[in-house]
Amino acid sequence: MMNLMRLFGGRTASAPVARERLQILLAHERGRNGASDLLETLRAEILGVVSKHIDLDPDKIVIRMERGKFVSMLEVDIEVPNSVQRSKLAAAS
């Protein structure tokens, strides 16, 4: 009876949505097992390289990995202080 009501009432089933959302999410999360360490390693090494030449606040390096269907994007966001702040930093140290 409920099924007939659903058919005629146009109520949509939510379980298929749940299933699809989970499949997509878990495919990404399983891939990330261990990959979070990769990002941390990348962050530390990039920080090391850039710090040789520019004074950096270690907290101002942000690394993100965005997974797409065919390619993924590695986004590295480094905030470099301008020269005024840089000379201040140099003077303080």
Partner: protein
């Protein structure tokens, strides 16, 4: 040969403690000697669900710290003489549980019992990792609901990497126990179906426990559901699960009335 089983889930409130009590009692009802251990330090509840809350004197932490002997801390069930409980501490010093201490306790219990059931706390922190640490097999309790399935997936990953068996290159045998299942709602496409959950988690099914008022009734009076109402649907589901654990082949059925042809057709359409 004693078997160490962890009952785990990641998410809280899915029925770990209820299931530990019911499975432990069911194993004991089948003549096995069983101890159930509560690993939820600070928030112990297995004693309450089993109706032994007023008999707790010593606990797991006391034994780990050497304050009490194992024999002093173990509580024998009043209804089943081969069912025992090792309660958790209600004090909050979680760090008192050490890996070495747990190893010693479990090694000693293995000489005395056929089955050691570890009731894991929710989460993925220390308590949960210690509860699974020495497990031979794991029962992952899952509700057919997105957050529970996601957390179960996470726990399955941990069972494959953070247990002693995994580190030795061996396998922790995993079983999925789906609880609070409502076949009517699943048939209408309002709840993830058993097939959905199995496909997503890719773990063998141990049993399907239907949503039932009998579960609450049993915990209200402090009696595992398999003892409190052995003929109820959840009790039968737990009994079947235990037979499968013991190696019997039991036909898997959703423990409610069979659906007609119309429902099955529509269920396929909804899935």
């Amino acid at each position: 040969m004693a078997k160490v089983l962890v009952v785990t889930s990641g998410k809280g409130g899915v029925g770990k403690t209820t299931s530990t009590a019911a499975l432990g009692a069911a194993l004991a009802q089948m003549g096995q000697s069983v101890v159930v251990i509560d690993f939820d330090v600070g928030l112990r509840n297995l004693d309450l669900v089993m109706g032994a809350e007023r008999r707790v004197v010593f606990d797991l932490i006391n034994v780990v710290q050497g304050v009490a002997k194992l024999s002093q801390a173990l509580i024998r069930d009043k209804r089943l003489e081969n069912l025992w409980l090792l309660p958790a501490s209600q004090t909050r010093d979680k760090d008192a549980l050490t890996e070495e201490g747990i190893r010693r306790v479990i090694t000693e219990l293995k000489t005395k019992f056929d089955w050691i059931l570890c009731d894991s706390p929710a989460g993925i922190e220390r308590g949960a990792t210690l509860a699974m640490r020495y497990a031979d097999e794991a029962i992952i309790v899952t509700n057919p609901e997105v957050s529970s399935v996601r957390d179960s997936d996470r726990i399955i990953g941990m069972l494959d990497s953070k247990t002693v068996r995994a580190e030795r290159g061996e396998r922790v045998e995993k079983h999925l126990l789906i609880t609070r299942y409502d076949s009517a709602r699943a048939a209408r496409g309002e709840m993830l179906s058993i097939d959905d959950v199995l496909e997503i988690l890719a773990t063998p099914l141990l049993g399907i426990v239907p949503e039932s008022q009998d579960v609450l009734k049993a915990s209200n009076v402090g009696s595992p559901v398999t003892l409190n109402n052995a003929n109820s649907a959840p009790a039968r589901a737990y009994m079947d699960a235990v037979r499968r654990l013991m190696g019997e082949t039991v036909t898997m059925k959703v423990p409610v009335e069979r659906k007609g042809l119309m429902d099955r057709l529509l269920r396929r359409r909804a899935a």
